[in-house]
């Protein structure tokens, strides 16, 4: 029983969170932040599969999130709403809560397929050159989306709010929070189970010694395809959730800056550590939100102490100076991230008594 403590706690926490949201004890802002935290977790953990476990340097993960966001949005709009683009809804809106997993699945598969664009060149290309390919793919995705006028082009795409509303009309619960928690659960379980199976350890073998992997009977090309597809597919899942939480998507939201955020979370947490990356994703989301309040406060303090000229206001832009600065410092003093390539249970073995993972 003791071994299940963590699992039960996790479940209770999820229920409590949903309950709090349901009875209005979490305001809309807090709810959005928590949901967004979950999405960031999915995004970072999925990137970790390629950058941490497989040791490639993918810098265009945002592109796959973009594919998932648009694919999810389009499926969602086609399924549940009357639109100019797809005509009348395919299904009655009452089915939205039941069929929404299909939307997420579709987005995941679409992004996974797009992952092939990176996976195939990775047979011959490695390291920095593969990094460039991922960057290029990121830009290509955004550019393609912006050039298709039917899905809004540079103006973005909306209409997913109706799907969320349709779900709420059937049962009024915080649907997007629930889907995000489930999505995160699926994502973590997928990667955890994959990486603890002999099949998935082929990914680590490719990182540690590709020649040995190939000679010992591991089809390295297939391993790369699998890793890239799973990784980009889960990023697509994050994208679809993101699109429905915000009710609006714009390709520029998934540009190289988004990909950089992913990198930051992975390297902050420690490459190849699921728990480390989860911690980092939560910390990173909190930090960005916290700075939103800290900066005006700091502005007030510094002005009160007349350390700043009167005409100068400490703006929110400083956020994007402070965050990279923290990271640069972190790299200097703890370059392996929070946990290195170890899991929380390895760093603190006593946790093992409270946790069981299958």
């Amino acid at each position: 029983m003791q071994r299940y403590t963590f699992n039960i706690l996790f479940f209770l926490a999820a229920v409590a969170l949903v309950g709090l949201a349901q009875f209005g004890m979490l305001d809309k802002y807090a709810l959005t932040i928590i949901t967004f935290m979950g999405i960031n977790c999915i995004f970072a953990v999925s990137l970790n599969l390629v950058n941490g476990y497989m040791g490639e340097f993918s810098c265009g993960h945002g592109g796959f999130m973009c594919v998932g966001a648009y694919a999810g949005s389009l499926i969602s709009v086609a399924f549940f709403t009357d639109s100019k683009l797809f005509g009348s809804a395919l299904f009655p809106p009452e089915l939205a809560p039941v069929l929404f997993p299909l939307v997420l699945l579709g987005a995941t598969l679409a992004a996974a397929l797009f992952g092939l664009v990176v996976a195939l060149p990775s047979f011959h290309t490695r390291d920095d050159y593969l990094a460039i390919i991922t960057i290029a793919v990121n830009y290509i995705v955004i550019s393609i989306v912006e050039n298709i006028d039917a899905i809004g082009g540079p103006r973005g795409f909306s209409g997913m709010r109706k799907t969320v509303n349709a779900m709420s009309d059937v049962v009024n619960v915080p649907w997007m929070l629930i889907w995000t928690i489930l999505g995160l659960f699926v994502c973590v379980m997928t990667i955890y189970r994959l990486m603890t199976s002999t099949y998935g350890k082929g990914i680590s073998a490719v990182r540690q010694n590709e020649v040995a992997a190939e000679i010992m009977g591991i089809n390295t090309n297939r391993v790369k395809i699998m890793a890239f597809m799973v990784s980009s597919g889960l990023a697509g899942l994050a994208g679809a959730l993101y699109a429905h939480v915000y009710g609006y998507v714009n390709a520029q939201a998934f540009n190289i800056l988004k990909s950089t955020e992913g990198l930051v979370m992975v390297y902050l947490g420690g490459m190849g550590s699921i728990s480390g990356v989860l911690l980092a994703a939560v910390a990173f989301t909190l930090l960005t939100e916290l700075l939103r309040f800290v900066i005006p406060w700091l502005d007030g303090v510094l002005h009160a102490m007349s350390l700043l000229p009167a005409g100068y206001e400490l703006s929110q832009i400083w956020k994007w100076v402070i965050i990279p600065l923290i990271l640069v410092l972190l790299m200097q003093f703890r370059p392996e991230g929070f946990l290195g390539n170890r899991e929380l249970t390895q760093v603190f073995p006593w946790i093992k008594r409270w946790i069981t993972f299958k």
Binding site: L194, T198, V211, M216, G217, I218, N219, T220, N341
Partner: protein, 255 residues
Amino acid sequence: MPLLEISGLTQRFGGIQALSNFSFQMEEHELVGLIGPNGAGKTTVFNIVSGFYASTEGEIVFDGRRINGLKPHRVTAMGMARTFQNIRLWNDMTVLDNIRLARYSWLGYGFLDAVLRTARHGRAEHAVETRAREALEMMDLSECAEELPKNLPYGLQRRVELARALTGNPKLLLLDEPAAGLNSADVEDLIRHIRWIYDEFGISIWMIEHQMKVVMSLCQRLTVINFGSILAEGTPEYIRQHPEVIDAYLGDEKI
């Protein structure tokens, strides 16, 4: 029918002829050595046979099937395993995991099985685990199952690599300088292990080795190559007295 039959193997890298018209046969249950001075093309032969390089010309038939152009993992799946001159273990995973992964070709389950933890996955993992433990037991490595290879002494790393190669139940084992970098006690151990493997499993072993002590005490037959072509072939006794071989080795190593 020979287990391995190589005929007219030729390999050019750019303008360099690394191997010319190399022909070789090997029966089942044979222990054969491949020797020659540095840069003679020994490792190139192994790299081509194990599928890492595609040969420029020539035929390789292994176990009744032509294997030219097959990817290394396909060749491995057909029952060939090899070790490397400079040890190539996966250093960030345990010795046990290293051994487990050698069963990759025979896992018999896929991505969905792994993620959904199906019964097939459970059975396969159980079989792999048992097989890996056996292999460790056989090579006297059980104590270091949970160690990382990089923390092991060099001699043990060699042995782990040997155990890993054996775990795939090969018909043919290619050993690329298994004694390189070992001290004399370790070399004795190695000779003992190789002989035991050869007798116990009834497999064929083809080894590249510089240390004449190892080659002379183990191999039934030797092939000598120099500048990419065969210089001599025969029993260790015959090779030891071959004038051209002595010539080629002059100043390089004493036979």
